[in-house]
Amino acid sequence: MNGGPRLFSILRQGPYLIASIHTALDDSQLVRFQQDLVERIGSDRARGVVIDVAALDVLDSFASRTLRDIGEMARLRGAVTVIVGIQPDVAFAMVELGMDTGRVVTALDLEEGLAELDTYAAAPPAPRR
């Protein structure tokens, strides 16, 4: 965030936050992303978050766990998380690796992700899908 190209952005859209990752992130950058996003969920009192991970080259064990943790923390703060943009190859590698995104919902793209959040907003979130 200090000068260099932005690694990610977090934008507000109504009651939701749209968090986009712009490039491959290393572990410490992922941790900063997690901290910033969870902070924004609180300060913006967001009810839903879409995380766009299309720019991530891999979702290895650390990245998968970080996304899942974000989902859990968001849930504790009353927000639903939807992850969008997981590439088919990346999804396949996650399965082979034995990872998943836990209770975090996934959707194809941003549009679908926002639609997903709307259905949750209409009906209180079910514990799991």
């Binding site: 491959a24 992130l25 080259d57 891999v58 979702l59 650390f62 766990r65 590439q87 082979e96």
Partner: protein, 375 residues
């Protein structure tokens, strides 16, 4: 646990464990299946030389790990002799000062005397060995090699002087280097080859010329000749172009990304499918992360494989504390590596071949390979 031999460094106690697993891929995998088939043979060789079963077991594992790491660059028909030679060398090297040997081997590659002050004596010895080896070349070979390596004259201007072509000069330089490596090893070991077949065999191995290796029946000679069996290990694989290997230093988080991107680039160039490229990059991410988390620093070396078919292999090395129980680190499921941050079991599932050697207090080496599917 075993203690090093009586000549080992101050009775150093090491625990060395390795897991070598044949690939579980349904398509079957020739490399590791071949290596698995060698296990009884390797056991027999080691057991006949090492009475202590626990030590023997360690050495068998180490042998298999080395053979597996080399399987991609050893011709299929050479794998068995290679395993025999490796097993014998692993047993022998147990009684030797390994660090010293490693430094020697390293220098065979670049021929530059070390500049580290504490290595002064060794460097002098080494320089003497190189000079002695140089006198064994023909005048013309020596002049050309020195003009190129020392004076920095390029192959094109050498070719003009010699009335030859740049390609022919480059090929001649490679043959000369191969000869120099052989002579250097002979001088360092202060031995003369016992038979007249030895030099041709060593030269064929040193130059990586497989057709020549068959012509001189190198595999058979290595089984019969103790000296060549011993000397051939540092020579195997040296014939390859050094451009085939890419080294990524790993110290900080950003290096993990650099390592997996290097892997991605090379795998893509080798024609791996997009899915395989992602699997490979993910596995590299896991093993590189382990270096950052558990050791101060290390490296990931990426090597292109062209024999017996196209593949990519990785060696991740660190000098960290080592993994106390490799089998457990590999077998435990998600919960353990979540706790310890060990991505090894995951990485293993993504690759065709996977081996870990770890020595408590000395570091960990992970070797893994993926073969390109037949397209």
């Amino acid at each position: 646990m075993r203690s090093a031999g009586p000549e080992g460094a101050a009775g150093r106690t090491v625990s060395r464990m390795a897991a070598v697993e044949p690939a579980a891929t349904p398509g079957g995998d020739r490399g590791s299946a071949d290596v698995a088939a060698l296990i009884p043979l390797v056991r027999r060789i080691v057991a006949s030389r090492v009475p202590d079963p626990a030590t023997a077991d360690d050495l068998v594992q180490e042998t298999l790990t080395r053979v597996l790491a080399a399987a991609g660059r050893v011709e299929p028909g050479m794998l068995e002799p290679y395993a025999i030679v490796t097993a014998r060398n692993v047993v022998t090297s147990m009684w030797r000062d390994q660090d010293r040997q490693r430094r020697h081997q390293h220098r065979v590659v670049d021929l530059r005397p070390s500049e580290a002050p504490d290595e002064g004596v060794l460097a002098r010895e080494d320089r003497a060995a190189v000079s002695e080896a140089l006198t064994r070349l023909s005048d013309r070979e020596r002049a050309t090699l020195l003009a190129h390596e020392v004076a920095g004259q390029d192959t094109r201007s050498l070719a003009a002087e010699l009335g030859s072509t740049a390609g022919a000069v480059a090929a001649q330089l490679n043959r000369t280097r191969a000869r120099l490596r052989v002579e250097y090893l002979l001088v360092s070991e202060r031995v003369e080859p016992p038979t007249e077949r030895c030099r041709p065999v060593l030269l064929a191995i040193s130059s990586g010329d497989r057709r020549r290796q068959r012509e001189v029946d190198a595999a058979r000679h290595l089984l019969e000749c103790d000296l060549c069996a011993r000397l051939s290990e540092p020579l195997v694989g040296r014939g390859r172009s050094r451009d085939d290997a890419v080294r990524v230093a790993v110290r900080v988080d950003a290096d993990v990304v650099a390592a997996r991107q290097a892997a991605r680039e090379i795998a893509t160039r080798l024609g791996f499918s997009a899915t395989d490229v992602t699997l490979i990059a993910t596995a590299v991410s896991e093993i590189a992360r382990n270096i950052v988390r558990f050791a101060d620093s290390g490296e990931v070396v990426v090597t292109e494989l062209h024999e017996p078919r196209t593949g990519i292999s990785f060696v991740a090395r660190d000098a960290g504390p080592g993994i106390p129980d490799v089998d457990q680190a590999l077998q435990d499921g998600y919960s353990t590596y979540r706790g310890l941050g060990l991505g090894l079991p995951g990485a293993r599932r993504l690759m065709d071949e996977f081996a870990v050697v770890s020595e408590t207090g000395r570091g960990t080496t992970v070797t893994m390979t993926k073969w390109r599917g037949e397209a």
